[in-house]
Symmetry: C2
Subunit: 355 residues, 2 copies
């Protein structure tokens, strides 16, 4: 059996009994009922995911998947393509946004080369990045598929491999991405999966003006016409209009779910990866925590498709890299602290509410 099939066999819904026991304890805490709101809801989720009333979340990994995109030749991004490898070096040197956010949250950053258009062998040999390179960037999806079906499967299985490799040492994962041009394939994935129009979904990425936005919308429409992916087949969507790093993110999510570990979903590109994972195995939804709402307009629709109406944070982020996921790890820890450290009315000898 292949890595993918073996992984899917291990993905089950959350544990109902752990959820019930967590709720029972939270109901009795010495505070007005449910006064820590969304974090108490999150505590129930964490108990259900991990089958534990002491959900382990202390050992935190951010996995930042990098890849290049053939569609950049269409002028869909403000930044030149060489920024993808330059940013990989920035991650490795600790100077990027994700490094700062991860340090604050006590998380370790792993950078994965899923398909950067540059020779990064020196970094891989030095153990500074994980090498899962599938190609030197995807094909131009405005004229054909991003990758072959075999490459799509390999991208997802590479993400699973990373989750399995990190599994023994980490309790919780956060997704991240780097890839100049990758809001374009992510918007195409969003269009296929949510049924919303390209106009509703498309945003300014790293900073397009009005004319560039109109151009990007026309390119995404062309991408969908040229490729017409099967909306029920996650691997087909990935192969036709995806990206190597998006496949890696989908695999990381599947791998985390198979380990019953929570996975914090970062922004727009990560949520496209989550949609691919969800199309492959809908039960993954039980292991997703939505860290924040991105400025990209399509993000909301993608999150709603995955059952999330209120992500944890809403801070006008639009960076990716895993920055929102890292920041939200603080809130996950706080949710566990509520479940495990706050006394009940009887433990604290505090009088309850008048009936």
């Amino acid at each position: 059996m292949s890595t993918l099939e073996k992984t899917l066999q291990k993905i089950f819904p959350q544990d109902t009994e752990s959820r019930t026991l967590a709720k029972e304890r939270l109901d009795q805490l010495a505070l007005p009922h449910w006064a820590l709101g969304d974090l108490m809801d999150l505590a129930i989720e964490l108990a259900g995911m991990t089958r534990s009333l002491h959900p382990p979340v202390g050992r935190k990994a951010i996995v930042t998947m990098a890849g290049d995109h053939g569609v950049t030749v269409e002028g869909v991004s403000k930044f030149p393509r060489e920024v993808t490898p330059q940013m990989v070096y920035n991650f490795v040197n600790g100077g990027a946004g994700i490094n700062a956010m991860a340090r604050q949250a006590g998380a370790k950053v792993f950078v994965v080369d899923m398909g950067v258009d540059a020779d990064l062998n020196d970094l891989a040999k030095a153990g500074k990045i994980i090498n899962k390179k599938i190609g030197l960037g995807t094909g131009n999806i405005a004229t054909g598929p991003a990758m072959s079906p075999a490459m799509a499967r390999r991208a997802v299985e590479s993400g699973i491999d990373v989750a399995n490799q990190l599994g023994p040492d980490f309790d919780i994962f956060g997704t991240g991405d780097m890839g100049i041009g990758n809001t374009t394939p992510s918007t195409a994935i969003a269009a296929v999966c949510t049924g919303k129009t390209v106009e509703e979904l498309t945003g300014r990425g790293t900073g397009l003006d009005d004319q560039q936005l109109t151009h990007k919308i026309s390119i995404i429409k062309k991408i969908l016409e040229v490729n017409s992916p099967n909306s029920r087949d996650g691997l087909d969507i990935l192969a036709k209009v995806g990206g190597f790093e998006i496949g890696g993110i989908a695999g990381l999510i599947l791998g985390a779910a198979a380990q019953r570990k929570p996975v914090l979903i970062d922004g727009f590109i990560s949520t496209a990866g989550a949609l691919i994972a969800y199309k492959i195995e809908p039960f993954v939804r039980d292991y997703l925590i939505f860290s924040h709402r991105s400025v990209e307009p399509g993000h909301r629709f993608m999150q709603e498709m995955l059952g999330c109406t209120r992500p944890l944070l809403d801070l006008n982020f639009r960076l990716g890299e895993g920055t929102g996921a890292a920041l939200a790890m603080n809130l996950v820890e706080a949710a566990v602290a509520i479940l495990t450290e706050v006394a009940t009315f009887s433990e604290a000898a505090v009088a309850g509410a008048d009936k």
Copy 2:
């Protein structure tokens, strides 16, 4: 000169040059422009408050001010009055929501007895709480003032004393409160300061039903009629319709601002304290960080009055104690990390956006 007057003389607006220098650096970071949104705005505020491009925020104190309220005889809270001292013991024993949130954020909790209706001398002697007790609870504000003008001044000066006592050891403060019945004086303060109707401002506190809510609204209207505080005089508002812990919070804020230190405002009651501080000295506004939006409906109007349209978090909290302030300390740290740890385009040798 009194403690209050001495403190007011030391409160100045934020430093414009530090703000400008911070913005210049943030504009050059190797990421799409302002892609970490609200935290980049916050980083500018922190630079302006602390006059530094490396704003110190590592040593964090949550100050939870406790006091009782005579108005509880009117049946405005679901919880009995003895819960105030019981919760003080819970804080001291580390079992409350604020203890869990503060541990997660790496903050130390200081509990101040501003006017709890119980003998807490044992805790004060053991150094487990700070004793600033002004009385055994306020007067019933539905029939007269909360306290004398002298007590109001003493409450505020006690908060300043706490800020001054903690000053040498802490970089940043978070406010917190405990006091059964204290959404009622806080709503009265909100009505006086925002000009909104009592109906718009009043919420269910710790869990009132419809009939109890209607009763609470009628009591708050009576409070305003009986006392008619001078809306331009912070000490008069505090004396007429406030609370000892609310005065303490106002003082803590004034003391923090005089030290040029950021102060994270917790929820509804803390924001009432911030309104009192603001009425005493409007420049304190430059040192406030609004941690979250409470479920209490009046909170939004109070925050807007103080210039805040988007608090950092919105997680359906309605606990108080300082829980929202503690949780938001993570975001303050992250904002500083963006300013101090992220490389610029030139430092990281990353190509900028195409022109």
